[in-house]
């Protein structure tokens, strides 16, 4: 079955720097990959979706890359702000049919001013 690894449990950076979070998967290459943000005590909120035929996707200060050869996605937040502090989750379809998503354990980002 598909497995997801988000290598860092926690990442601490200074305001204004770029945060880079990593998501690796172990099995088949998914048709797409998603990133979510979760604040304490709240449900995750969708941020970006990138498809297997897309190398890069941008949304404001967010950038996601998808490398099917490395089986890896990178999630970047540029010009980070304290308000970006949260847990970021990577998600993939559980199977080729894509009927459900499974999530990585997440990386907790802390941005200090």
């Amino acid at each position: 079955s598909q497995k997801i690894e988000q290598n860092s449990e926690a990442l601490n950076i200074q305001e204004g720097k770029t945060a880079t979070l990593t998501c690796n998967y172990t099995n088949y290459s998914p048709a797409y990959l998603q990133w979510y943000r979760q604040d304490p005590g709240r449900g995750p909120v969708f941020l970006l979706l990138i498809r297997e035929n897309e190398k890069e996707k941008r949304k404001e200060r967010l950038k996601v890359t998808f490398d099917t050869t490395l089986k890896q996605s990178l999630f970047h937040i540029t010009a980070s702000q304290p308000a970006d502090s949260a847990t970021y989750l990577c998600a993939l379809p559980i199977n080729q049919a894509g009927t459900a998503l499974i999530f990585g354990k997440g990386t907790t980002l802390s941005v200090s001013s």
Partner: protein, 113 residues
């Protein structure tokens, strides 16, 4: 507009007692529905999903069960709770035509004592 409601928001239950968590989606028809659990120190775990009334797929065959008695209602149940059932339970749905991203409810925090 499309919304998702989950209740109760918080509950404290003794070991061995039953459980019923409810989730209702408004503003759409025939959504795919999901139950996830987030336990302390663990990631977001997929428990059940449903692609239609009466259709339930289980990913974690523990002492929990799910039912979908109506198109937009998803219920998570247990006959006898265990200490290990404590956690943050999240209901989610996929909005039609939205590229497969999940929209989560506000969650139900369960503490089993």
């Amino acid at each position: 507009s499309q919304t998702i409601h989950q209740w109760p928001a918080t509950l404290v239950q003794p070991v061995g007692s039953p459980l019923s968590l409810e989730c209702t989606v408004e503003g759409t028809s025939n959504p795919n529905l999901y139950w996830y659990r987030q336990a302390a120190g663990r990631g977001l775990q997929l428990l059940f999903y449903s692609v239609g009334i009466g259709q339930i797929s289980s990913e974690v065959p523990q002492n929990l069960s799910a039912s979908r008695p109506q198109d937009r209602q998803f219920i998570l149940s247990s006959k006898k709770l265990l200490l290990s059932d404590s956690g943050f339970y999240l209901c989610a749905w996929i909005r039609q035509g939205a590229g497969g991203e999940l929209f989560f409810g506000e969650g139900s925090r369960l503490t089993v004592l």
